[in-house]
């Protein structure tokens, strides 16, 4: 791979100084003159019909300026449900946390007090939490038409993928393995709580949002409030993480806008941390039933998955279960059913379909390797994907190198052993898992202005959710323009000043918007060659609207993770003591920040493997662990050192051959830890998270 001047060299973030001095302005830091504060009242029941709402006492509280309920607000939140009509305030309420009313007041304490003065008469309804229970005859109907959420074709059928003939594949096997796995609802838990500020000037609305995609947010606010798109502006300068739960416009953006309209003042709507855990969304819980057919030599003949995803009462995410595509196999059948439940809503969380699915299939493949007396690394090298769905060539694939180089760096041969051997009470074990993630190309735009002082102003509609997107765009521009990084000024996060960008979801910013930056820079260079550098008040401007596609190939990033754990078999405590991550994301634009992404994603996955779950009380349908302590998200003391290795394949697409990165980082980590625990104790925990009680139970 050829060396470049800017791309490929570690660069601190161009906005790092603001982030370490407290001068980076996040949405919650904004204070507008005359601004009111808003709070939301939420359902305390899992499922209930509202018989009456009385806001009179709340309204009488001095300082209260406006109250929205279903009675005076029938705005539909389009992105809140892709199948049914979801209002800002719904009746019946369908989960503990469903919005009932929103109050704007002079200050946040008054707003909060007012929510407590609203009297709501609820008639409680039966509820259901488990996706399979929800589909049984006689289960309470959560949405009209039943709890089987329609698939992408609009039918109340599972999403199905098939190749070959599964029955034939199972018949051809020497041995068929069958097992099932479950994964929990966990929350994105980004540090910045949800906040939105809305301000009207005449019929023009400005929303200061905390969003992963200003363009989507802009389009959706205009659609839901029936405004002309040119009358809406969305601004998000610094934002404190999202991991998939800030992709769209959200109900609170719309509530803030409606309250601001009604009061004639800017309104800041803030969520509490508990609301953030319950009322936005988390990763969908799954139940996965597998059958895998295998020949005596370890060749796969069939993979069958029947899965169920609990979507909560509104269909906001895909509810997919991915992972089996990392294996080559002639006969495959995947059938996943999405069901409505009365749990918190489920939708995107970093690598939406993947870590839970990879946990399932990689746990089973690990068991198969052991029972065939094969080293799990050799088993994967034998069976890993070579072509996408065994048909379409990849634009580049470094999976084998990820496995081989990762195993070498990890010292796999030394650390891995027969399962459960070793003397207690603390047993060591090693495990690994692999994964892939779609590295998309597609629509985005960029504008670059050059002024006579030699500054290049790069306008991109990114928001930089922590991935260093701004720095990445600056590096790509500097590389293509052949100028130092200091000559690049990035303008971001404002639909009034930036062109369309796909948004920070699907790990697409570098590949989509980065490519647009390259094309705009090429155009600008042509203009400079033609017209010369601008002088005095002159300016040169280049714009690119790009939508590249891949021809007759599939573009994916690949990854293999290796973990070593210590399991205290008396206490059930697990400690991850060594961790190696090997990634093929094509060319790495900024090794400093890219390495941080991998470290963070892997550690987040360890938390998903060992700790996190939004637990529900089955008697009441109420959540018990909404918050950082309850979820037990990873802390400094839990986090091992993550060793990162780059397998930089040459890929013909993307900006300088860069493939996708942010989400692959979490994909195999859950399974790698689970497999290491198996190797340590010789028993398999099949339900996430792998908590102490479950470890002690399988050892008992």
């Amino acid at each position: 791979m050829n060396t470049l001047n800017q791309v490929g060299h570690p660069s601190p973030r161009i906005d790092a100084q603001k982030r370490v001095t407290g001068t980076a302005t996040y949405t919650g830091d904004i204070r507008l003159p005359g601004m009111l504060y808003a709070r939301v009242l939420r359902s305390p029941h899992a499922h209930a019909r509202i018989r009456r709402i009385d806001v009179s006492r709340a309204q009488a509280l001095p300082g209260v300026k406006a109250i929205l309920t279903r009675e005076n607000c029938d705005v539909v939140w389009g992105s809140g449900d892709t199948r049914n009509k979801r209002y800002l305030f719904n009746n019946p309420v369908r989960f503990a946390g469903d919005a009932v009313a929103a109050v704007a007041a002079m200050d946040r304490h008054t707003a909060e007090e007012a929510t407590r003065l609203i009297e709501v008469d609820y008639g409680t309804l039966p509820f259901v939490l488990d996706p399979e229970d929800a589909l049984k005859p006689g289960a309470v109907e959560i949405q009209p038409g039943g709890n089987h959420s329609p698939n992408n074709q609009g039918a109340r059928q599972p999403e199905v993928y098939r190749r070959g003939n599964i029955e034939e594949g199972l018949r051809a096997a020497d041995q068929v393995f069958e097992d099932h796995y479950t994964s929990a609802h966990i929350n994105n838990a980004q540090l910045e709580p949800r906040v939105s500020i809305a301000q009207w000037e005449g019929d023009k609305l400005t929303v200061y949002a905390s969003t992963q995609g200003i363009s989507n947010c802009h389009t959706e606010i205009a659609r839901d409030l029936k405004l002309a798109p040119e009358n809406v502006r969305v601004i998000c300068q610094f934002m404190g993480g999202g991991f998939g739960n800030k992709n769209q416009c959200h109900d609170f953006d719309l509530m803030a806008a409606m309250l601001a309209k009604q009061t004639g003042a800017p309104v800041k709507l803030e969520f509490t941390r508990k609301e953030d855990f319950l009322a936005v969304h988390g990763r969908w819980p799954t139940k996965q039933y597998y059958k895998v057919g295998v020949k005596r030599d370890g060749t796969l003949t069939a993979i069958q998955l029947r899965g169920y995803s609990g979507m909560g009462p509104y269909r906001k995410g895909s509810g997919g279960i991915a992972g089996i595509e990392i294996y080559q196999c002639p006969h495959v059948e995947r059938s996943v059913t999405q069901a409505y439940t009365n749990m918190a809503v489920s939708a995107n969380l970093r690598g939406p379909d993947y870590p839970q699915g990879v946990f399932g299939i990689e746990s089973l493949m690990d068991d198969i390797a052991y029972s065939l007396n094969m080293d799990p690394v050799d088993f994967r090298l034998k069976n890993m994907t070579r072509k996408f769905n065994d048909q379409t060539p990849y634009t580049s694939i470094g999976l084998e190198d990820c496995i081989r180089r990762g195993a070498e760096a990890f010292e796999w041969k030394k650390r891995w052993h027969a399962p459960g051997v070793g003397f207690g009470p603390v047993k060591r074990g090693a495990g690994m898992a692999m994964g892939s993630f779609f590295s998309s190309l597609g629509r985005s735009s960029a504008v670059i202005d050059l002024d006579s002082r030699g500054m290049y102003h790069v306008h991109v509609g990114v928001t930089d959710i922590g991935t260093a997107a701004k720095t990445t765009m600056a590096l790509i521009a500097a590389e293509e323009l052949g100028v130092p990084l200091e000559k690049i000024d990035v303008i971001w996060g404002d639909t009034g000043r930036c062109p369309y960008s796909v948004g920070e979801s699907g790990s697409r910013t570098t590949t989509h918007t980065g490519y647009a930056v390259v094309q705009a820079a090429k155009d600008l260079k042509r203009q400079i060659a033609e017209k010369g550098l601008p002088q005095g008040d002159q300016m040169l401007t280049a714009a690119a609207n790009t939508n590249p596609t891949v021809q007759n190939a599939a573009r994916y990033s690949f990854v293999a993770h290796f973990a070593e754990v210590e399991v205290d078999i008396e206490l059930g405590h697990v400690k991850v003591v060594k961790y190696v991550a090997a990634h093929d994301s094509g060319r790495v634009v900024n090794p400093l920040t890219a390495t941080s992404q991998v470290k963070g994603g892997a550690i987040m996955g360890i938390g998903m493997a060992l700790h996190e779950e939004l637990l529900y009380d089955k008697q009441t349908g109420l959540p018990l662990t909404a918050g950082y302590y309850g979820a037990r998200v990873m802390t400094h003391l839990d986090a091992p050192e993550i060793e990162v290795h780059w397998i930089e394949t040459e890929d013909p697409y993307g900006p300088f051959g860069a493939k996708t990165l942010g989400e692959p980082t979490i994909i195999p980590s859950v399974a790698a830890v689970a497999n290491a625990i198996y190797n340590a104790i010789g028993k398999r925990v099949k339900d996430l998270p792998i908590t102490r009680d479950k470890i002690l139970a399988v050892l008992a």
Partner: protein
Amino acid sequence: MSKISRRRFFEGTGAGIVATAVPLQGQETKAPPPGTVPRTTIQVTVNGERRKIEVEDRWTLVEVLRDHLGLTGSKIGCDRGECGACTVLLDGKPVYSCSQLAVWADGRSVQTVEGLSPNGQLDPLQQAFIQHDGPQCGFCTSGQLMSAKALLNRNPHPTLDEVRHAMTGNICRCSNYNRYVESVMAAAGTLSASARRKA
């Protein structure tokens, strides 16, 4: 100058922040009658400057810092003593400023992230956080910095484990823990060879 006890605070409007396992619409609380929210004038030294300010007794320290003194570097991540994004130094000790009433700071000294580089000269910790890519989204960064500052003030050459222990009350959901520890070790001049080797 009335002193507010923790009990009185929780009996009043602060009750909304406690307990994770109760239904959302908790018990109705006995808020003071409208317009009669008790107020107290306090004197606090903030980043070396003496400030006199009248506060509502129910305001937390982080609310006063952010909403009334314009120091928005300290973040509110959970408002219930779980995440550490609001960490400031109170008389040199790290505290969650969401879990302190402003009136409790009367007569005391507060240092926030804005006080780390009073003359625009970055603290070695801030420089190390930039070089070693401490902040990803950056929302927890001010809290991480203040916990690290308190540590280095009392222990200029900590071990890796001492850093992890001192900062474990600061959650980073981007999970950039390796980088934060690496940054603090670098600032302390005790960066291990292995951490230095890595990009």
